[in-house]
């Protein structure tokens, strides 16, 4: 077996340190989104021989760490592709986790000199970027698609066959909830501008509108990912309209106990304003969650945008107009 140092093979372990876990937390809150990288190239895990399996992954720390920590007690090589610090599935969708980079990395790391076999275990979610038959033709290495989740690798390695369950992507509560901090962070600045802007225009806007709109934002970024499978309708926007509408109605109901308007019809216009604006805010945020899910298609999302964005714009527009009109009453 050749000297690993001569082949520039780095070493890693399957143990995650406190620093790794801290890095994962920062990645999950969206801190320095492109800063969670490992160096691309070949790594050895444990004490591999020239017959040990080769696992391919992305140079995003969460991807690399999920792989190595799943391979506890297993000797092998990790071939890390340069995906600019993006996870396997997203990078495959853009092609940076792809045939070209894989073939290049096999050459650059001199993998042929390190292992005797000609097989690579590529994560299944790398397939949107990797053409297995072309990799074989160009590099001589046979791509074997492993399971979707690195955690299933130990079981997969026993038979080298993934069960149908391992081949399917699910989107369970935990996977949805872990996205909330990044969703929140992406709207934080917009919310600050909106609230500040509202205060500039209407210095004495009723506190209930602030509270309702904040609740609508939280409904779209926190409640929506959690409730996704249980909200009625198929489209994200209509789910959002419903969720935002319910939240706004709750505030309207609360305001009935403590009316702020002298006449009933004014109170009703007030309520309508809240419902229109709040539900369009939540619907818009819900539509934006499509990209974070594991199952939306481009043609589906495009169709949804064309049918719902005009509705959202009209509802928000009418809501703002009636809100401004009320101010002058």
């Amino acid at each position: 077996m050749p000297d690993p140092r001569a082949l520039h093979i780095r070493s890693t372990t399957s143990k995650l340190t406190l620093a790794d876990r801290w890095d994962h937390i920062l990645a999950r809150v969206g801190w320095r989104r492109n800063g969670h990288r490992v160096a691309p190239g070949l790594y050895q895990l444990g004490r591999p021989s020239h017959d040990s399996p080769v696992f391919v992954t992305a140079n995003y720390t969460l991807s690399f760490d999920a792989l190595r920590s799943a391979l506890s007690g297993i000797d092998g090589y990790l071939l890390v592709l340069d995906t600019n610090g993006i996870n396997v599935w997203c990078a495959a969708g853009k092609g940076s986790f792809g045939t070209d980079e894989l073939v290049h990395r096999i050459e650059a790391s001199r993998l042929r000199d390190t292992v005797r076999h000609r097989k690579l275990i590529v994560p299944q979610l790398g397939a949107p970027g990797v053409a297995a038959h072309l990799v074989k033709k160009r590099s001589g290495f046979k791509v074997e698609y492993g399971p979707v989740l690195a955690a299933d690798l130990p079981e997969y390695l026993q038979t080298r066959k993934a069960t149908p369950q391992m081949r399917q992507v699910h989107f369970p509560l935990g996977d949805r909830a872990v996205l909330i901090p990044v969703e929140l962070r992406s709207v934080l600045v917009l919310v600050a501008i909106a609230v500040f802007g509202l205060r500039l225009v209407i210095a004495d806007a009723p506190a209930i509108s602030d509270a309702t709109f904040l609740a609508a934002v939280l409904a779209g970024t926190v409640a929506f990912p959690i409730l996704l499978p249980w909200l009625p309708t198929r489209d994200f926007s209509s789910k959002g309209f419903i969720l935002g509408g319910v939240v706004a109605l709750a505030f309207v109901a609360a305001s009935l106990w403590n009316p702020t308007r002298p006449a009933l019809w004014l109170q009703a216009v007030d309520a309508l304003t809240l419902v229109l604006i709040a539900s369009s805010i939540t619907a818009f945020l819900a539509l934006n969650f499509t990209g974070s899910t594991t199952f939306t298609s481009r043609s589906g999302v495009r169709r949804e945008m064309f049918s719902y964005i005009p509705v959202m714009a009209w509802m928000a527009g009418v809501g703002v107009a009636s809100g401004v009109a009320l101010y002058f009453v």
Binding site: P128, G129, R167, Q168, G291, T296, R298, S299
Partner: protein
Amino acid sequence: MIAASTLNTLEYDPDLCIGCAMCVVVCPHAVFAMNDRVARFARPDDCMECGACQLNCPTAAITVNAGVGCASAMMFAALRGKKQSAATCG
């Protein structure tokens, strides 16, 4: 060519299928299944147009207008007048 579903752009020509089952392997939503020696649609409505089957089909029996189902990426792309691929998170 058989169109999969009114919900997406997936199409498949069984005459070109050589039965390698790569589409069954790579699909994250079990859209394809094997029918004796050729692939068939099992859950075509679930296609998310990731493009994995198209790219890994050695005989080009599958076509799909592959892309990412992300509304914000499409909005940014529209606002900047660029193609979607130039404006996504990756």
